[in-house]
């Protein structure tokens, strides 16, 4: 494993809110205290005790619109239960970390969008369905309360970004398979695998099937040498940060159903750890085993998001 150089400071996204001050009660009930609002509403919300950031329609429109995270069925390609097609935005954040983003999350997706942006330290504004106020509020409270851990992301390979859509799709597939990569401008010697599209080793036509291409990369790394493995689901995408002494693992469940007993394998020896779970607080890791240069444990339950701290 190789810690990447860039450290992204995680911060919770901002909920964009256009309803009037009469909606204050609903926001307070959801424990949402930080908002992005149109400039003409800033003073009103501040007087009501909220932390607000003004954002204009133009600024919103200038942000990169993100697909709604989750799983979807694609005829002939995937089904939600067996081989799910995951829509995830983490690769976009990794590719363009300085960009500004906006989600328009339909009902049921707000909390996942908030967690996803936070996990990758993205500058994101979140338009939510009012029906999600409660779940988004719970998530925001959780994110705000997480102990700080500004650790570098961990990667097993590098991919040279040529800016092409094809390379973006390769990043997407790598991320969905929890193949931890770092986006670079030129190959880095410290990585065993450096993907440079259009070379003899990685011809563009091969990436025409990004799924097969991701399998090729997986074979090159070998499962044994991968820093991170996930067992018990194919709809949980992880972001791993840390070093030899400490790891923070972000787990994002895109499946929409709670998962029990998710099993994680992280290379390295970590004797203690805990899970931080929205709505449940701190939970001990279950069935923790340290063997063969790796640490394994199970997470009792994950709904949308969980953070694992290992030491």
């Amino acid at each position: 494993m190789t810690p990447a150089v860039l450290v992204l400071l995680a911060s919770a996204p901002c909920v964009y809110w256009t309803q009037g001050i009469e909606s204050r009660g609903a926001l307070e009930a959801a424990a949402i205290k930080r908002l992005c609002v149109p400039p003409d509403q800033v003073d009103t919300w501040r007087r009501a005790g909220f932390t607000v950031t003004p954002i204009t329609e133009a600024e919103l429109a200038a942000r990169e619109a993100l697909p709604t995270p989750g799983v979807t069925a694609r005829a002939g390609l995937a089904s939600p239960t067996r081989s799910p097609w995951i829509v995830a935005d983490g690769w976009r954040f990794m590719r363009t970390p300085a960009a500004k983003y906006v989600y328009t999350a339909p009902a049921g997706k707000g909390a996942l969008a908030a967690a996803e942006a936070f996990a990758y330290g993205a500058d994101a504004v979140l338009k939510i369905d009012p029906a999600d106020l409660g779940s988004v509020g719970t998530m925001m409270t959780f994110l705000d309360g997480l102990p700080a851990a500004d650790l570098p992301p961990v990667a097993d390979l590098a991919i040279v970004d040529d800016g092409s859509p094809l390379t973006g799709e390769v990043m997407n597939l790598l991320a969905r398979r929890n193949l931890l990569f770092q986006v670079v401008q030129a190959p880095l010697p410290r990585f065993r695998v450096n993907i440079v599209m259009g070379t003899a080793a990685y011809p563009r036509e091969e990436a025409g099937d990004p799924s097969a291409f991701a399998q090729k990369i997986r074979s090159q790394l070998t499962d044994e040498q991968r820093t991170l493995r996930v067992y018990g689901s194919e709809v949980v995408i992880c972001r791993l940060t840390g070093d030899r002494q400490r790891m923070r693992l972000h787990l994002l469940n895109y499946g929409g159903r709670d998962i029990e007993g998710l099993r994680i394998r992280v290379r390295g020896t970590y004797r203690s750890g805990e899970a931080l779970v929205p709505g449940a607080g701190r939970l001990p890791l279950e069935d923790q085993v340290v063997a063969d240069g790796a640490t394994e444990f199970s997470l009792p339950r994950i709904a949308t998001y969980a953070v694992i701290d290992l030491r």
């Binding site: 689901s233 998962i259 099993r263 085993v289």
Partner: protein, 399 residues
């Protein structure tokens, strides 16, 4: 905590035998002989077994009666006009079957040969063929009655399946004494409940490029049970050819097994037997009672309609799952021949409508996956039992 893991590479062990095998099935005619032919193959995916359990001194499979099967037949066991089983006849079939298998003079003594009052006994039922072909209430209830009769406390008897919704549908509870534990590992086949599985006992294999490469044994099996009774049905299976003792105990005791067969291809050939061979499942599965009161000759493992249901009206007893499944291959194949439809050994691409379950259900000449009835023979190569039909001793009993 450090684990004491015994890691074996079964594929490597099997490959020596496989090297001598011939790939008949891949090249053979679509109507292969009933007996099939040796088909231990090369090129199988590597399967890594991780278990900290040692084999028992005498493994449950193939157990004390390798290559021996008692087939008890009774025309009056099922009213084929209604499908209803006759409880009294079934009891007598079980009594005679167990005595014939063990050589005991009394039924209770036959059960005592395999179980003691201190055992915690799991009964692996099959609910997948609901509503028309599941492990019969009458057989399950009589099994429980016999266990209690030799002193096994009712609270030490477990009925298990992987999915709770299937157990709920079949609803064995009203047919059983109060106190029998009815246990599933997952609420439903949704791939979200892993807590019921042992994280340290599993098969690891990358079959189709799936990310989750592990199939874990049920915690109930590894942590609680001391003995297991396997009660499969006589059913056709779209991926394995038949689903009998091996498939029921293997795929019914491990997680994440649907991944082994998809997009027309089945890795069940080597995975079924390998799962069945993993300790402690192998050592603890000490009795096979194949429920052939009803059967399914096409569309299995499901039986949503009676269209493909038939009535063998027999129960087979043994400790050797391979020997019983070897007979099952012929039973299903014979029935399909009688119906004038595709052999379970057929591998022709023209029969294949990949993943089209509707077409398969409508037409018994359609396969959705190339079936792997050779999984039974492969299991024999792992020492799970006797495959050679000529060496299997069948004792026929008529009630």
């Amino acid at each position: 905590m450090h684990r004491r893991a015994f890691v074996r590479l079964l594929a490597a062990a099997a490959s020596a035998k496989a090297a001598a095998g011939i790939d008949v099935a891949a090249k053979g005619p679509s109507r292969a002989p009933l007996a099939g032919r040796p088909q231990i193959r090369t090129g199988l995916p590597p399967l890594k077994v991780v278990s900290r359990y040692s084999p028992a001194a005498a493994a449950g499979m193939p157990g004390p009666y390798p290559g021996q099967v008692v087939a008890v037949k009774a025309d009056k066991s099922v009213d084929i006009s209604t499908g209803a089983a006759n409880d009294t006849v079934v009891r007598e079939m079980i009594s005679q079957g167990m005595r014939a298998l063990t050589g005991a003079g009394a039924t209770a003594d036959a059960w005592r040969r395999l179980f003691t009052p201190s055992d915690v006994v799991g009964i692996k039922v099959n609910c997948g063929g609901y509503p028309h072909c599941v492990s019969a209430y009458e057989i399950v209830a009589e099994t429980v009655r016999q266990l209690m009769g030799i002193g096994v406390p009712v609270t030490q008897i477990y009925l298990y399946e992987r999915f709770q919704n299937q157990l709920d549908e079949v609803n064995y509870g009203p047919h059983l004494p109060e106190g029998v534990q009815i246990v599933a590992a997952e609420r439903a086949n949704r791939y979200t409940d892993n807590s019921g599985y042992d994280p340290e006992t599993y098969l690891e294999a990358n079959l189709f490029g799936e990310e989750d490469t592990r199939s874990n044994m049920m915690r109930l099996v590894s942590k609680r049970l001391t003995k297991i009774i396997n009660i499969p049905n006589m059913k056709d299976h779209g991926a394995t050819g038949v689903t009998g003792c091996l498939k029921n105990i293997a795929y019914g005791s491990f997680s994440n097994v649907a991944r082994t067969h998809q997009r027309g291809k089945s890795h069940t050939y080597s995975v079924v037997g390998t799962l069945a061979s993993i300790e402690p499942l192998r050592s603890r599965t000490v009795l096979q009672i194949m429920d052939g009161l009803r059967g399914v000759w096409h569309g299995g493992p499901f039986a949503r309609t009676t269209k493909y249901v038939f009535y063998p009206r027999q129960i087979m007893f043994g400790t050797d799952p391979v020997a019983i499944d070897r007979l099952l291959l012929d039973i299903i194949e014979n029935k399909r021949r009688e119906q004038g439809v595709l052999s379970i050994w057929d591998r022709s691409p023209s029969s294949l409508k990949m993943d089209d379950t509707r077409a398969r259900d409508a037409d018994p000449n359609v396969n959705i996956i190339i079936r792997e009835p050779g999984h039974v023979e492969y299991a024999s190569s792992l020492g799970l039992g006797m495959y050679d039909r000529a060496r299997i001793k069948v004792q026929d009993v008529t009630v």
